[in-house]
């Protein structure tokens, strides 16, 4: 089990978090349906670091972006997602 450093709550047990999808599988708003389907249903699935969308489901319930390595399981960055981070 890992600790994930939630930007809102601090370090918490991984069991409080759920993995949702990868950043490279989010279709841009306004994409045409075929293109949106293609993006939603494909993953680079690298054997190394990738950006992933997680959620602190059993905590503050905020969405997060983790940069996580799939070979070593190390978490290199945790970023909050929300209006304040877009500014």
């Amino acid at each position: 089990m890992y600790l994930i450093d939630c930007p809102h709550c601090g370090p918490r047990a991984q069991l409080e978090f759920t993995y949702e999808r990868t950043m490279d599988s989010i279709a841009p708003a306004g994409a045409d349906p075929q293109e949106a389907m293609r993006v939603l249903y494909s993953r680079a699935n690298p054997m190394g670091a990738d950006d992933e969308v997680w959620r602190h489901t059993y905590g503050c319930r905020a969405w997060l972006v983790l940069t996580r390595n799939r070979m070593t399981h190390s978490i290199d960055a945790v970023r909050a997602v929300g209006p304040e981070t877009l500014a």
Binding site: L15, T18, Q34, M37, R38, L40, R43, N45, M71, T72
Partner: protein, 422 residues
């Protein structure tokens, strides 16, 4: 090649068993082949065997980056069954189950197929309704399925906690009597030996590092592969590396509808027979069976996030064991021998992918989620058809790579397009 038989064994006994020979050759790769199969697991070797046997395509190589059967073929929990709810799935898997029944004879290699029954437990009225619906779907297509009462479940598995105070009460079960287990390594070795006899080159320690493509800009048809043992030309190339499909397909610039996740299993010390069938609970997500050596084999959910580490989270396996022990309390006294994990191709609807890719002459067989072992003969048979003819076999037509963008998913559990919610 010596045909294996009891008489051969007896003759060998007189001569000090000195007659044994390697079960397959260790050839140097040729300059080119009609078909190159990437991945020497059960599926790849079965594909090569049926290409040679059924389609007469004998100029075939199976390229394996380490040793054959060393990936997911050697890491699964050996369960064989065909009791899927949806027709495309149960038709494919039952085609395979019928092949399992004669596989040892077919290959002249004992794969130790043991049809001891595959039993899905029901813990509530709602569970029993779902199991009855599944059983009806199976019987409509001529596949065996029997709805068992509580008493019948207790007769099959006397060690299940049938009390009304049980943590997970038992209301009944859906039994597939023809289901069971097989010896996983023997499946790879049996197919390898039989394919080798027909002229297939099995080339181990040969990792594919790239594809050779036609066209001025290198984006045309695949005409060969680059490997750690040099360039090998190919008429057609079949990817068959479930667990790492994304990696190999990525060499051709493809992005697949697949995420790689870790699936764990655990085995205990060997004990006398105590689990008679393969017991599964799909409401809880745990399954248990006893190997022929006596170990109790248990498994559960994948770790629900992407990983290639072949190293699972203890919390996930703990959950599966806790559920199994709640169902069969006697198991709590056993000592764990080992746990292990494998990397699975989790597809977006829980169903496999077999068929052509957008790249000419390049085909793919993958996305088996955590259920590939039982499909080995059917997967090989249908993929061989596709590689020989370039067209889909009726049984693998529903599992085309482009079904996701067409909206034609085969979603057994009905949970939608999330590989981590299977």
């Amino acid at each position: 090649m010596n045909r294996y038989s009891v008489f051969g064994l007896m003759r060998g006994a007189l001569g000090g068993q000195k007659h044994w020979q390697p079960a397959w050759r260790d050839p140097e790769p040729r300059a080119s082949y009609d078909v190159v199969i990437i991945g020497g697991g059960g599926h790849g070797l079965a594909t090569a065997y049926y290409l040679a046997k059924v389609h007469g395509v004998r100029n075939v190589a199976v390229l394996e980056k380490s040793w054959i059967g060393g990936g997911n073929t050697g890491r699964n929990t050996t369960l064989v069954r065909s009791n899927y709810r949806l027709a495309p799935l149960h038709n494919l898997f039952d085609f395979g189950l019928k092949m399992w029944e004669h596989l040892s004879d077919e290959l002249n290699y004992n794969v130790m197929f043991s049809p001891r029954g595959a039993m899905f437990l029901g813990h509530s009225d709602a569970d029993m309704t779902m199991l009855a619906q599944r059983g009806d779907a199976l019987r409509c297509d001529g596949i065996d399925a029997e709805l068992l009462t509580r008493d019948e479940v207790a007769k099959v598995e006397p060690l299940i906690d049938m009390s009304r105070t049980a943590r997970f009460p038992i209301e009944g079960a859906l039994m597939q009597p023809r289901g069971g287990t097989a010896r996983h390594d023997a499946v790879a070795w049996g197919y390898a030996r039989a394919a080798d006899v027909l002229g297939v080159d099995i080339i181990q320690k040969c990792e594919v590092t790239g594809f050779v493509r036609d066209g001025a800009d290198g984006s045309g048809a695949v005409v060969g592969v680059e490997t750690t043992r040099g360039r090998i030309g190919a008429g057609r190339v079949g990817i068959c590396v479930a667990g790492h499909s994304g990696q190999v397909a990525g060499l051709a610039g493809l992005k697949l509808p697949i995420e790689s996740q870790t699936l764990q299993a655990v085995v205990t010390e060997g004990v006398k027979p105590m689990v008679n069938s393969s017991v599964m609970s799909q409401s809880l997500h745990c399954y248990v069976s006893q190997s022929d050596k006596g170990g109790i084999v248990m498994g559960g959910d994948p770790d629900n996030w992407p990983s290639y580490a072949r190293r699972g989270q203890p919390t996930v396996i703990e959950t599966a064991i806790a559920q199994t022990i709640a169902i069969m309390p006697a198991l709590s006294r056993l000592r764990m021998l080992r746990t292990w994990s494998g990397v699975t191709d989790m597809s977006f609807d829980g169903a496999p992918i077999i068929g052509p890719t957008p790249v000419r002459n390049l085909f793919i067989n993958g996305g088996w989620c955590y259920g590939g072992f039982k499909a080995t003969p059917a997967s090989g048979w249908t993929y061989a058809h596709t590689l020989a003819t370039g067209a889909a076999h009726p049984l693998n037509a529903p599992f085309a790579l482009d079904r996701f963008v067409r909206g034609a998913t085969v979603d057994e559990t009905g949970v939608g397009p999330m590989p981590n919610h299977r």
